[in-house]
Amino acid sequence: MRLESVIRVSLLALALAGCAAAPERAGLPPVEDRSLPATAGSGSAASASVPQEGETAAVETAPLEVETLPAEPYRTPALPPASSTPAVRTLLARADEAGGRGDWAAAAAALERALRIEPANARLWHRLAMVRLEQGRYEQAAQLAVRSNSYAAGDVELIRANWFLIADARRAQGDEAGARAAERKAASYE
């Protein structure tokens, strides 16, 4: 009888224990933390395209490894203020501040906002080209510099600065001949 009752009691205890057992747990909030994989292919060149019919778009993911540029100092002269609109100046200041921190993505974001306000502002396109250069996106840097020139309309200093930027971009891509051609082009604007 003793054994039986021991068994019964233990079974009972087990049953109740089953009900009451609580696993080790921290007080989890109801929201599940479903952080996605931080960035697809972080560290790789921005490549994942978001294709659409007749469209190719590059998707910018993590901040990229910035290739070390050649040691020559960047030759563009410091250009005077790019805009008379306070909003654009504020955004430019924000872009500069972000650039100073090395947060090129934030700098680009501010410049894109500025471009929505003044899409024909050649200086803004030039600044964006500089940011792309810093981000190691050389092809885009060169293209944006060309875009800047299309709005430059006789701003010789800016046109020259753009050609120097294109030269840097080409050099960074290993196109030495192209870089020299761009430098010659820049020189033609003296």
């Binding site: 007080g27 996605l36 659409q52």
Partner: protein, 776 residues
């Protein structure tokens, strides 16, 4: 029992044994049964335990993705009317109040606004909540200043409008709140009305049941519930209308178990987010965070006491007390709850009186369907699916920042339906026989401002803007002429083309004999005029001389990612494209040769605000600036004096609009692609069954374009002139240099050095003319 043992020894032994057995059997059967029952109960308990825990914890509060339109960015000098500003504020749920008390309030005095903005975390930074003054000067923003210290604000970014959510498959939605975020008044009211002993009981509360019964008896109706918040939470997890005893028992047990595992605060927080509070079509409204938005279109923190009371009152029966369907019941219930609030000292009598006096006006009409712009959202999804799984889109609570301009989208939707209806009336076409599409993008940045794929925009079916492949007709011609203009040694805008009968052997061994729309031939025409008047025959000749492959290459460079068969008929537009593809190609032209991939999304961030993905502005020079400028100038002339001159009549030649009409064989498709200084819009009109509808590009799509753009507002276009361009006066008849002596002359741009050197016969021959020639 002792007497039994006194029987004989052997029989006694036997009897003892049997007696013992018998007595055991007799003594313990109920105990055995009880033990079995207990074991069963234990197993059942374990099962319930596992279930409730998996519901509570393992349960994923799947959060739908939030899709936002582009935010309004205000700055001094922006062309924006006060009326539009008020409209924008109201669409964001801002309320007009005499004083700014809370974020979400605004007041207006003519051209002056005072505004208390809501904080919002964008993917690229946080916009704080601010009290501001916005002053307009006519239809322009004059000044933005902070109210607190008068400092001028250069740029204001308002929170973006939420245009859609991408729901989890089970169609539930939440706006999750932390316990700390819930207004104290809400919690106190909830406890007072639904579960006063919440912090004291262990899951079920017999005292509550008793008290509720008493209160209900006294009141003569159901005023208090006997089930605890815990029980209600359990019930919500297994939403079932079944109210059997069995279910109630299960719920009671699970409530006890829940309380064993989790703290009161955890349970309360879960309750606040879980309790069922309404229905929006197929979408279930769970949690106070979402209910606050659903009924009052404002965040929980901004609710007034009467609104809090209404929500708490809904707990008892969201359908029964639905303020939209049963306003009187809802009001009575609300007032009852307000009474309890006062009785419990949560509000004072003055507040009670004021709150009770409020009508249910603050309850908004049923919000627009969770997906108000299915065609645009379709585009967003397609662009997202490249990078995200459906599952993540529906459940990870992402914030998707799109490029949509809600105002332009609404204009586009309205214009499409109304213009199609008026076209049907004007041309005697059957009702609802026409369909159409509109794609509106930023000319320089390729951001999609609006997308309409159906004249009934709420229909989420065939998205004509993205999917309807139709022959583009004359829309292809700019590609032909661009190809030519890229060869300035051979072709300029002044080159004479032959408009004379043409026969070309086609691939089937027959002959292709293109004809002009009016079936006549003009003889030699300027290249410029052939494009501006959209003449077929000179275009075909030009295209054949260049080679169809060269034209196809141009189409590819412009951004059309499709293979084409190099048939001569391609030159007149037998290629089939979607309005979206057309928009991409014309965007390259609108941006002076710089192709920017069309984007509907700017960025995606995670539920906690961390930016996950950015879709940056990218350009690629597809066409050199000089030929692009030459072509764009000609496209301006299409509007000024060509097939689209109705636009110049409507908007004035000074607007500088550029574009191209497109008409297909038998008038089955009507196209117009046009851009101004800010925006490129592609319009298509046709029948789904592809039958002829009798409308040319100018008669159909052009009108649609004009309607939409008139409402949006035209920004004048001044094409930036690149280096290497020179302008000359040209005699229309001969394509040679003209002067005042020539009647039929026009000014044309040329790539430097490519202009004709000869003077036209009509140009001055007199001594002055000779001298001029000498000094040239």
């Amino acid at each position: 029992m002792a007497s039994r043992r006194k029987a004989g020894k052997s029989s006694r032994k036997r009897t003892r044994k049997t007696t013992r057995k018998a007595s055991r059997r007799w003594r313990f059967p109920w105990l055995r049964l009880a033990l079995v029952a207990l074991v069963l109960l234990g197993a059942w308990c374990v099962w319930l335990d596992v279930t409730i825990r998996s519901q509570f914890e393992g349960r994923r509060w799947a959060l739908p993705a939030k899709v936002y339109a582009r935010p309004l960015e205000l700055y001094s000098g922006l062309a924006f009317s006060p009326a539009r500003f008020e409209e924008t504020l109201r669409s964001l749920g801002y309320r007009h109040r005499p004083f700014l008390q809370r974020p979400g309030d605004f007041s207006r005095d003519g051209a002056r606004f005072h505004l208390y903005t809501r904080a919002f975390r964008f993917w690229d930074g946080e916009e704080p909540s601010r009290r501001l003054q916005v002053i307009f000067d006519g239809s322009r923003v004059a000044r933005l200043a902070l109210l607190d210290d008068g400092r001028v604000l250069d740029l204001l970014r308002l929170e973006p409008q939420r245009i859609a959510s991408i729901y989890p498959a089970h169609k539930e939605d939440r706006i999750l709140i932390r316990l700390e975020q819930a207004p104290p008044l809400l919690i106190q009211t909830l406890l007072a009305v639904e579960d006063r002993d919440f912090y004291r009981h262990h899951g079920i509360s017999p005292r509550s049941v008793a008290r509720a019964m008493l209160a209900n008896l006294r009141a003569g109706g159901v005023v208090q519930g006997g089930s605890t918040l815990t029980q209600q939470l359990v019930k919500n997890f297994f939403l079932s209308s079944e109210r059997s005893l069995w279910r109630k028992a299960n719920e009671a047990l699970m409530s006890l178990l829940l309380e064993l595992h989790y703290s009161k605060d955890e349970i309360l927080e879960a309750y606040l987010n879980e309790i069922y509070l309404g229905q929006d079509g197929a979408r279930a409204i769970h949690g106070f965070g979402l209910a606050s938005r659903f009924y009052f279109d404002r965040p929980l923190a901004e609710l007034s006491p009467d609104q809090v009371a209404l929500l708490v009152g809904l707990v008892k029966g969201p359908s029964y007390y639905d303020p939209r369907r049963h306003p009187q019941r809802a009001r009575r219930r609300r007032d009852l709850v307000l009474g309890i609030m006062a009785e419990q000292g949560l509000i004072d009598t003055a507040t009670l009186r004021r709150a009770r006096a409020h009508t249910l006006d603050t309850v908004t009409p049923r919000p627009v369907a969770s997906n108000a712009h299915p065609a645009f959202l379709d585009l967003v999804r397609r662009q997202l699916y490249r990078d995200y799984r459906e599952e993540d889109l529906r459940s990870a609570g992402l914030s998707i920042f799109t490029t949509l301009d809600p105002r332009i989208q609404r204009i586009a939707e309205r214009s499409l339906d109304s213009r199609l209806a008026s076209l049907e009336r004007a041309h005697g076409l059957p009702d609802a026989s026409l369909q159409g599409a509109l794609v509106v993008v930023g000319a320089t940045d390729g951001e999609v401002l609006a997308l309409v794929g159906d004249r009934h925009p709420k229909r989420a079916g065939f998205n004509r803007a993205l999917e309807a492949r139709r022959p583009i007709g004359s829309l292809v011609k700019p590609a032909v002429y661009l190809t030519a203009l890229e060869r300035p040694d051979h072709y300029t805008l002044a080159t004479l083309l032959e408009d004379a009968p043409l026969e070309v052997p086609d691939s089937q061994g027959g002959l292709w004999t293109p004809a002009n729309y009016d079936r006549t031939f003009r003889g030699p025409v300027l290249l410029h005029d052939a494009l501006v008047q959209s003449l077929n025959v000179p275009t075909a000749r030009l295209g054949l001389a260049l080679g169809v492959d060269a034209v196809i290459d141009t189409l590819h460079r412009l951004g059309i990612d499709r293979d084409f068969r190099p048939y001569p008929s391609l030159l007149l537009g037998t290629a089939e494209l979607t309005p979206w593809e057309v928009a991409q190609a014309y965007q390259t032209l609108a941006a002076g040769g710089f192709r920017t991939p069309l984007r509907a999304i700017r960025a995606v961030s995670a539920a906690d605000g961390t930016p996950l993905q950015r879709y940056p502005l990218e350009v690629r020079q597809a066409v050199a600036p000089v030929p692009a400028f030459l072509l764009d100038s000609a496209l301006q002339d299409v509007v000024r004096e060509g097939t689209a001159r109705a636009l110049a009549a409507r908007f004035g030649a000074g607007a500088g609009i550029a574009g191209k009409t497109g008409t297909t064989d038998d008038l089955r498709d009507s196209w117009f692609a046009g851009f101004d200084g800010a925006v490129l819009t592609v319009a298509w009109v046709g029948r789904d069954d592809n039958r002829p509808m009798g409308l040319t590009g100018a008669a159909g799509a052009l009108r649609l374009w004009a309607d939409a753009m008139a409402a949006v507002g035209i920004t004048p276009l001044v094409l930036p002139m690149p280096e290497g361009i020179e302008i000359h006066a040209i005699d229309r008849k001969t394509g040679l240099l003209a002067d005042k002596g020539c009647e039929d002359r026009l000014e044309l741009p040329f790539s430097k050095g490519s202009a004709p050197r000869e003077r036209a016969p009509c140009a001055g021959r007199g001594p002055a003319g000779w001298l001029e020639r000498l000094f040239r």
